[in-house]
């Protein structure tokens, strides 16, 4: 199910050239802000929770997920070079699975790791906040990577739709309509984080069993459907 050559090519496509710059800039910004906040405000659990929840989990993880998830397959389909990959005797689901693993790994490294560092800078992991949000970021990475990889195979406007989901649905509708929060990767990840931290600093609107089931179902379904989609891929010219 895992093809090292496909993985190597995907890593190069994701981290090559300027793409790595934006992937690296966001975590650096988060850490820089944490240092500034720590210097200005000192160690404070509420501040740490606000910053990690509002900036790291709500904004940074989805954006890195979009870049890594759609970037793993989108550009290849876009410029048509995916036919060279598809013409090789490698199963299409294997290609998707490999690309998913790579996308998850990249998202985790560039979002969960900085979250952990930022958490330690902000309050030295007081009340398990740093670890809780890191776990949330890890869990969210898996689901985001799977969803956005699927989007990359379905539409050539994958990046836009991914961002619309992450920013408009989760952030805007999620804050206005409470029902929308049940269908939000962010809230599912927070439910897991709530269990980890055990305190009342990290809260979610979704119960833990629902969240884990939904996370697993979404990830598996998205990966399976992306594999199906790739089996019957039609290449369209640029409009």
């Amino acid at each position: 199910m895992y093809d090292p050559t496909v993985a190597r090519l995907t890593y190069r496509a994701l981290l090559g050239r300027r793409r790595a710059l934006i992937l690296g800039a966001l975590p650096l910004l988060l850490i820089a802000i944490s240092i500034v906040v720590r210097a200005l405000a000192g160690a404070d659990d509420q501040t740490a929770s606000d910053l990690l929840g509002g900036l790291a989990l709500a904004t940074m993880v989805p954006i890195i997920g979009v870049i890594a998830g759609t970037g793993a397959i989108g550009p290849e389909i876009d410029d048509g070079s995916v036919v060279y990959l598809l013409s090789k005797p490698v199963k299409r689901p294997t290609i998707i699975f490999t690309k998913l693993i790579v996308a998850i790994a990249v998202t985790m490294v560039f979002s969960a790791l900085p979250t952990l560092i930022a958490g330690y800078i902000l309050n030295g992991n007081g009340q398990q906040i740093a670890v809780a949000y890191t776990v949330a970021a890890l869990v969210a990475s898996i689901a985001y990577a799977a969803i956005f990889l699927l989007l990359g195979t379905v539409s050539r406007h994958a990046v836009v739709f991914g961002l619309v989901y992450a920013l408009v649905w989760e952030a805007l509708f999620g804050s206005l309509v409470s029902g929308a929060r049940t269908l939000s990767v962010q809230q599912w990840a927070l439910a897991v984080a709530q269990k980890v931290s055990g305190g009342d600093m990290v809260t979610s609107d979704v119960a833990l069993p629902t969240a884990t089931v939904l996370l697993a179902v979404v990830t598996v379904l998205a990966t399976w459907y992306a594999g199906q989609k790739l089996r019957s891929l039609t290449l369209a010219g640029e409009e």
């Binding site: 300027r18 793409r19 934006i22 966001l26 910004l29 802000i33 500034v36 906040v37 200005l40 405000a41 501040t47 606000d50 910053l51 509002g54 900036l55 709500a58 904004t59 940074m60 954006i63 979009v66 870049i67 759609t70 970037g71 989108g74 550009p75 876009d78 406007h157 994958a158 990046v159 836009v160 961002l163 619309v164 920013l167 408009v168 952030a171 805007l172 640029e238 409009e239």
Partner: protein
């Protein structure tokens, strides 16, 4: 097809140059400004998907509707409840809808310039009588106009609705004018930032992600820092002087600061305290500086298009 020999050649000549009937163009030449205007109008139409496929009309039109519908609802509520004032200031509207505006810039700035780079059509433009400055100005003006249409249309809806609801004419006109000035600045600033980022990459998807990252992350970071500074100030029993200075680092809060200092808007900053007049001057300078800088950077980017 046989080659025509319209010119009769004298007999006995062994070597001759065939005149195969090519003609020079002697019609009117429309020139540089016409080409620039065409590029402008094509880019502006393209920003709303006009003259392109149905698929590319969906997103800009959808965002346009999303921008206008809340304004229509507010007007309906104001008319139905016979309120004395609109529920939202003209100047505040764009700040509330900043996510939609950012998405629009992120989706349309790359489609305006990245595809020209990717399909290497830029050299074709420059084989026409237009110069680098014309190309940059046309693209910049087109995206800024598209953004102006996007942000001014809901204000127009609010204004017409307010007049229909027989609200105070002078008051509403003043607010509407202030709102228009604010969205003009916003359009220029967002268009500049979006185009500079998009013109660096030939990949459309990557351009979209980069623009949205700059817009949202900076806004998220600035709002978070401001909220923390505000909380600190309340704990310390005073108001924080740092809040306005932090606001300088994100496009949305920049516009917010300018309009709350000079255009009579109430600030969306935490604590509701916008920059004072002196700080507001810095805001205006930064906004104008950023617009000029993005124009300069674009000129530099397109000075040499070996690509």
């Amino acid at each position: 097809m046989a080659v025509e020999h319209p010119v009769a050649t004298p007999p006995g000549d062994q070597t001759r140059i065939h005149n195969i009937g090519y003609r020079t163009y002697d019609g009117p030449r429309l020139g540089r400004s016409y080409a620039t205007r065409s590029l402008y109008s094509q880019s502006l139409r393209g920003a709303y998907g006009l003259g392109r496929s149905v698929k590319s009309k969906v997103l800009p039109m959808l965002l346009f509707v999303v921008m206008c519908v809340p304004a229509a609802i507010m007007v309906a509520v104001a008319v139905a409840t016979k309120a004395n004032d609109l529920p939202v200031d003209y100047t505040r509207y764009a700040i509330i809808m900043q996510a939609v505006i950012s998405l629009y810039v992120a989706s349309q700035a790359p489609q305006s310039v990245s595809r020209d780079l990717r399909f290497k059509t830029v050299p074709l433009y420059f084989s026409r009588p237009i110069e680098t400055a014309d190309y940059v100005r046309a693209k910049f003006a087109a995206l800024a106009s598209a953004l102006f249409i996007l942000t001014a249309a809901p204000l127009l809806v609010l204004y017409v609705g307010a007049l229909l609801a027989k609200l105070d004419f002078a008051d509403q006109t003043k607010g509407f004018a202030q709102g228009l000035v604010s969205v003009t600045l916003l359009s220029l600033l967002f268009a500049g930032i979006g185009l500079v980022i998009a013109s660096v990459t030939p990949r459309r998807g990557f351009g979209i992600a980069a623009v949205i990252a700059v817009m949202t992350i900076s806004y998220g970071a600035v709002s978070t820092l401001q909220a923390i500074a505000d909380a600190q100030a309340i704990d310390g029993g005073g108001s924080s002087g740092a809040i306005p200075w932090i606001g300088l680092f994100s496009p949305v809060t920049l516009i917010d600061g300018v309009q709350s200092a000079f255009l009579g808007a109430t600030s969306a900053f935490p604590g509701g305290v916008g920059p004072s007049n002196g700080e507001g001057a810095v805001y205006v300078l930064v906004v104008l500086g950023l617009i000029a800088a993005s124009y300069g950077l674009l000129m530099r980017r397109y000075r040499k298009v070996g690509l």
